[in-house]
Amino acid sequence: MSAEKPQHNSMRYDLQIIASWIDPGSHVLDLGCGSGELLRFLINNKQVRGSGIELEENKVASCIEKGLTVLQGDINAEVPDYPEQTFDYVILSQTLQQVYAPDTLIRAIMRIGKRGIVSFPNFSHWACRMQLLSTGYAPVTKQLPYQWYNTPNIRVITIKDFRKFIYDVGLKILKEVAINTHSQNRYGKIIKFLPNIRATYGIFLIGN
């Protein structure tokens, strides 16, 4: 059985993979949960106990209207409040690249959760490399569509960097998959050969 087999094709592709990693009935916290797409899927299809944290008022409201348990707040400030090992999984999807202190946040996540699931755009994708090499400008891609001066993506992360980061902060990678998809796309594919060059996103399951 392939554990990475996507289960639900109306969600963003990386969320489909993340959903496939979560055991039924577990307790889940989704950081930066947006409009609650993943949470709702997990509650309806995997009977998880789930809650989320989101900064934007409109998105939080849309979650609560759907009947989800969601707090408005900054994840860096909200995560430390939870007791130790409250959650089976803490999810951080496509947000790590916007975090000011990723090491502090990852440690905080692994204090409140038994497992962490992190996805992020891979900055060493060939399109980024080619742009920098051929034009000399900071890369602007479909996954990272901003100029250097207006991007919320203040952290430049590659799949290799992330592996090293997890090792450096003393955690373990339990599972990883590299995928090729666009940021909001429902379709994608898993990249096994040369992922650090060919994948647009990396998804990692980490543990203590």
Partner: protein
């Protein structure tokens, strides 16, 4: 809370409703108040809308703010100028849907809106209680409401909801009777008044007590302390609005004149508005009730009472699912107070949702038509209803 009541724009309403009275704590079974004294009999005014289902699982209890009453929705008579104070939220198909839920709105002990308060007749003296009325607390109000729910046959309340001092009662319900409360929506409220909130209440009380007509609370057979109560209400109104809402609503515009009058009449619209609100209030509210209810709000300190000063410990007693809502421009019950209760709930592993709604209308925002608040409450109630019945 201010008055913003308007007829429903779509004409949707629970229709004609009736204020009911429930009396209990007759001798020798008087209520034991938090101050240690025994008190009775106690009457609570309340209203109900919708129908309690056979399983008795669809009851929602609404708790009002300082100057509110049991009349949350509908009309007493067809000719009524205004519906109940939360008619925008409570009714068929509204945020709190009276087709689905059995809605109870309870008045409070200490009020002058039909429940036992300082203006009620003391059966022992056959005179108004005035200052012989005991200083009641938020806890006493909730104990009395519990008697009412028992009387109505409600053992589990699907949701307790209220704002401001009503929100304090909501919080009190969740820790005093944790097994009865399935969910709770504290709106624009706090676990304890800030020094700022107490200060405004004290100035308002002083305005009443400085009025010679107040006469140590004994004014029921003579002129009432209307000037003092009107000033108290004016102070309240300032705290319910915000710098932004006052700028938008009044600015420095003059009232019915092109230039200053060079005397002390109400020149500015904001002056005229406050005078009007103060004057209107004295016709419907008792000055002593104002003293008692504001004091109850100021005394309330859930953290001290239930957690020896710790909010985390206080909320460890709660079992309810929470929806906490604050408003950006509310400076009387600012968002940091809601956030600190949310933090304590999180630390206890409680199921809590929180949103700070962008609103310019200050503390009063929770009473004003707000599509966002309506859909939030509707979605939250649907979920807790689903999770409670399955």
């Amino acid at each position: 809370m201010s008055e913003y009541i308007e007829h429903d724009r779509q004409g949707v309403s629970v229709g004609i409703v009736e204020k009911k009275l429930f009396t209990f704590a007759e001798a020798p079974d008087e209520m034991v108040l938090e101050n240690g004294t025994r008190f009775g009999p106690v009457t609570l005014a309340y209203e109900t809308y919708g129908t309690l289902n056979a399983e008795k699982t669809n009851a929602i209890l609404i708790l009002h703010a300082l100057s509110g009453d049991s009349h949350a929705a509908g009309y007493y008579e067809e000719a009524d100028e205004k519906p109940g104070w939360w008619d925008i939220m409570v009714g068929p198909g509204k945020g709190i849907d009276t087709h689905k839920y059995f809605v109870v709105c309870s008045n409070i002990i200490g009020s002058c809106m039909g429940s036992t308060g300082p203006c009620s007749t003391n059966p022992k003296t056959v005179q108004p209680y005035a200052l012989d009325f005991p200083v009641v607390t938020i806890g006493d109000m909730v104990v009395a409401q519990r008697k009412l729910m028992d009387h109505l046959g409600v053992k589990k309340i699907l949701c307790v909801v209220g704002g401001s001092i009503g929100g304090m009662q909501v919080l009190e319900w969740t820790v005093r009777y944790p097994d009865m409360v399935m969910s709770a929506i504290p709106l624009a409220t706090t676990t304890k008044h800030s020094a700022l909130a107490i200060a405004f209440n004290e100035v308002a009380r002083q305005a009443i007590m400085a009025d010679p007509a107040w006469n140590n609370g004994n004014y029921y057979y003579g002129p009432k302390p209307n000037l003092g109560l009107a000033v108290a209400r004016m102070i309240g109104h300032i705290t319910y609005l915000s710098d932004e809402s006052m700028r938008l609503k009044f600015g420095r515009r003059l009232q019915d004149k092109g230039d200053f009058s060079f005397n002390f009449d109400a020149d500015f619209q904001v002056e005229s508005y406050l005078r009007y609100q103060g004057k209107k209030f004295v016709d419907r509210f008792d000055a002593n009730s104002f003293l008692y209810i504001t004091k109850a709000g100021d005394y309330y300190d859930m953290e001290k009472q239930y957690g020896a000063g710790s909010a985390v410990k206080a909320f460890s007693k709660a079992r309810a699912k929470f929806l906490v809502v604050s408003f950006t421009s509310d400076w009387l019950y600012p968002t940091y107070q809601s956030k600190s209760m949310v933090k304590a709930m999180k630390k206890n592993g409680l199921d809590v949702s929180f949103l700070e709604i962008e609103a310019e209308w200050g503390h009063d925002a929770f009473l004003l038509p707000n599509e966002r608040l309506t859909t939030l409450i509707r979605g939250f109630l649907e979920r807790v209803c689903r999770e409670t019945t399955t």
